[in-house]
Amino acid sequence: MLGKLLKYETKATARSFLPVYIAILLFAFINRVINPFEQVGDTTGVTIEGFSFLNMMRIASVVIYFALIVATIAMTFVIIIQRFYKNLLGDEGYLMFTLPVKTWQHIISKLLVSLLWTILSFIVIVSSVLVLIRVDNLFGEIVRIIGEGRRFFGDVFLILAPISSLIGSTYFILTVYNALSIGHLFTKHRILASFGAYIGIYIFTQIVLTIFIFATANAIFQPLAQSDLPIHAQILTLMISMMVLYSLLGAANFASANIILNRKLNLE
């Protein structure tokens, strides 16, 4: 059943993302071809007559490109919230919650598909920049940058960095779900209550982090602060402990949302 939920969740969201992804890559390519940055920066010999149709097009294509990037980021956030709020807690919830499916499967399917779009949005934006900026020997440059990272942070970092950003995104999405679920406990002003809940969870997380930092100051943070060039093992300890901490906080958000939707569901 989880597979079917994933299928429909992907279908329902792909309609919004795919056109924007295609548009970004298209405009990155257009900008690469007409190379407007050189022209926009070059003011020598600019006259009223020189402000031709072509120049207008150049400026327009740059503006559209950046607007699309902002739109993609904003859309990723909005859809994470909207799919949970509308599809589960709105009228569509009457259908979703009467399917022979467990509540946790609804949450997991929304989470996984949200993660998928977060990752894809990131990849599309980065690729569009790469399309745009005409780096000579692109592959060689990427290898060089990765090499720098390895030298400074160590090999494990290369594996841990993507995993930790994944954990961070998961934590964020589950916090949003939990905040929306807590907001749902109220009979009035549910959106406002969800905002309040988000702030509450945020403060709670900060308190937990502070306690964690104080508790482990000697073991982790002191050596890190004192060494000029941090050694790999220190970075590793810090990263792994943060990853564990955020995984636990994410799991707590998941459990809270699951309990609320199971026992306290009250669709309008």
Partner: protein, 232 residues
């Protein structure tokens, strides 16, 4: 035969508001039951509790021996009073959706009924009127070969001609041992198809009888009796 649906001391409160109070019911197979009561009497709360959309404050509901959950959802077909259809889907997409999730769903039946009502399966739900959406929803719900149908105000929003069609659809689409519970306050329209009636008032069952019993005992129609019981 064991009961299809059983309620024991079923109570639901929202804060200090009582929606249902100590309801005890036993409902068998193969009945068409009118769940009748004025607005805010607890009809929708009862149906939502049966669908696991609400959790009882006290007492329990058993459907085929199970508490509302994943097993009962596979055998209960529910028509809510809200339109729950995703706007972006076509009628044919939502039929696929139902086929995917409900084992007892019969797509051929659904397409057949869409055709009879002149609804194009390729039309997007977004472009449909409210009444048409309600019809699509009813078609989906009645195309399941479920054990229990829970229809919350199925005829509230449609015109009288469509009302007749819908009642015929209900009558001709449920199998012999399935039970249909219809909640409504438009009694005269559905009176002729009912086997039993449950009158519900301020969260309590005030009468639970067969339509024949009512006619014999009081010599009145259900509609007339309703007006008497719930006289303001």
């Amino acid at each position: 035969m064991s009961n299809l649906l059983e309620c024991k001391n079923l109570t639901k409160t929202f804060g200090s508001t009582i929606a249902l109070w100590d309801v005890n019911l036993e409902i068998g197979h193969g009945r068409i039951i009118g769940l009748l009561g004025p607005n805010a009497s607890g009809k929708t709360t009862f149906i939502k509790l049966c669908n696991d959309l609400l959790t009882p404050t006290k007492g329990e509901i058993l459907i085929g021996g199970d508490r509302p959950g994943i097993r009962t959802k596979g055998v209960v077909s529910y028509l809510p009073e809200k339109t729950y259809l995703n706007d972006w889907m076509r009628a044919s997409d939502i039929i696929e959706f139902f086929k995917d999730f409900y084992e007892d769903f019969n797509p051929a039946k659904a397409y057949d009924m869409l055709g009879k009502l002149n609804i194009n399966p390729k039309d997007r739900l977004k472009t449909m009127s409210k009444g048409t959406k309600e019809k699509v929803q009813l078609i989906l719900v009645m195309s399941r070969e479920a054990k229990l149908y829970l229809l919350d105000e199925p005829i509230g929003g449609v015109d009288p001609a469509a009302r007749d069609y819908i009642l015929n659809t209900i009558l001709s689409n449920y199998s012999e041992d399935a039970t249909v519970i219809i909640s409504t306050h438009l009694i005269s329209d559905i009176e002729k198809i009912l086997d039993d009636i449950i009158f519900i008032k301020e969260g309590q069952v005030v009468m639970n009888k067969t339509v024949d019993e009512i006619r014999e005992e009081s010599g009145k129609s259900v509609d007339a009796l309703f007006r008497e019981v719930f006289k303001c």
